[in-house]
Symmetry: C2
Subunit: 257 residues, 2 copies
Amino acid sequence: MTPSRLQSCNHALRKLQFFNKISAADIALIRKSATIAQRFNVGAILQYESEDIVSPKVIVSGWACRLHMLPDGRRQIYCFLLPGDSLGIREAPNTAVARSSIMAATPLRVFDAREIESALRPPTAHPELALAFDRAAELELAIIYSQIVRIGRLSAYERAAHLFCELSYRLGLAGLTNGSGFALPITQAMLADSLGLSAVHANRILTQLRRDKLLEIENGHVCIKDSNTLCDISGFRPPFPADSAGGAEALAEAASG
Amino acid sequence: MTPSRLQSCNHALRKLQFFNKISAADIALIRKSATIAQRFNVGAILQYESEDIVSPKVIVSGWACRLHMLPDGRRQIYCFLLPGDSLGIREAPNTAVARSSIMAATPLRVFDAREIESALRPPTAHPELALAFDRAAELELAIIYSQIVRIGRLSAYERAAHLFCELSYRLGLAGLTNGSGFALPITQAMLADSLGLSAVHANRILTQLRRDKLLEIENGHVCIKDSNTLCDISGFRPPFPADSAGGAEALAEAASG
DNA sequence: CGTCTCCTTGATGATTCTCAATGCGCGTGG
DNA sequence: CCACGCGCATTGAGAATCATCAAGGAGACG
């Protein structure tokens, strides 16, 4: 396996291994697909709402987002899709039309996951991998729910804090954090469209978070200075606490057995 | 089949038949389960977030809601569960913990759907029924997405209009509308917790909708006076337009064949 | 060196929240 | 029967939050 192939599915593998112990055959299945790459520019639409569903994909690098566009130009982002995240795998299989648009929030690289998706349909030779993807889908649902609480019942300040907790958690699963820092390759306007705020107000809130020494933002890089306070303010709880993950359980079993 | 049994699953059957043509055997399967009834008082919690998932159920009468409660008393309702709606059927099967609490928003009657749920697992003798439940789950996801747009990017006035469009649409699927009217058995405080507003402001918005002659509300009954304007204001689109429903397609096929 | 995008800040106004008080219907107990 | 409490809807007043409009600066890029 070439280094480039390894890199392509690195984040996805890391995330899946958090969710379940997966076999060498599972890894080989993913690596095989990881060779076919596709690129999108910023703002490119991968999938249009209420049109056909796009073929299954895994994000190699860059961020995408599920979103809705209103006729008057307002936008609402449902959730971000990060490196290692998949779309169209182990989702409701019989859906006729897409329920959200998907847009490249940064330059994006993905690989086609049609083979993976079909290999996971029951009866499957990869039940552990299927479970890992099921848990990834469960995480996405949990994120969607928490997005509702965020914009429905949290203040702007709490919202921003909550989103940074979520991003830190999710990027951590994919191995994209170093210490308490991570790359934040999106504009404040996109953050605002996710938080249900105006871009100007989002900027003021970020400034406030910096002044309160909760985090630092510069040059597309965030450093979380006070994770505890950030979580307390926003009420963020990890959707899959480290001690409840299938991977962790499996490791514990292996150690004791 | 006794009249009471018929009544118990009436709304569920009506909704499922909208989504797909289902057979006599499918109907019999549901009717068999519809005998076992369970009651909950207003405010009763059917399922607690981050605890075990409750056994599958179908709502016979009354409304429930999926929601999150914050430690300081704030609440956010994710979505309402109406008569004929199900929970725990054809959802992600491997979920360890509940991702939302479920509360009885009114006095509630449900029946246990464990048998239905297990009868639909592949390989199943009821593929059409399984597809109908899959589409019901797809509808719930579409509603969750639209809830994000509603509270993230619509004004209070637009939000309320959008919610009434959604409720009218969904209650229509279950056969719970007469003309443009339907029962609204919940308090304004709950509407507010769904809309992401304070109860006081929700009240003002409802007053405004009445003054604008878009709808009437009295004694727990809503009558939509101007459906077109309500949809235009809020941008509401039916998640399953009548001509895209599986049931309608099936009927057309049957008529032409 | 001009243009563009993005971030930042100020000023002003609209939206929404909170606190507070009132009224209405309904059940409950005296 | 009546007084009372309670939940719910309603309205007013004032304050907090957030949006909009406008302008300027820093950096990328042709």
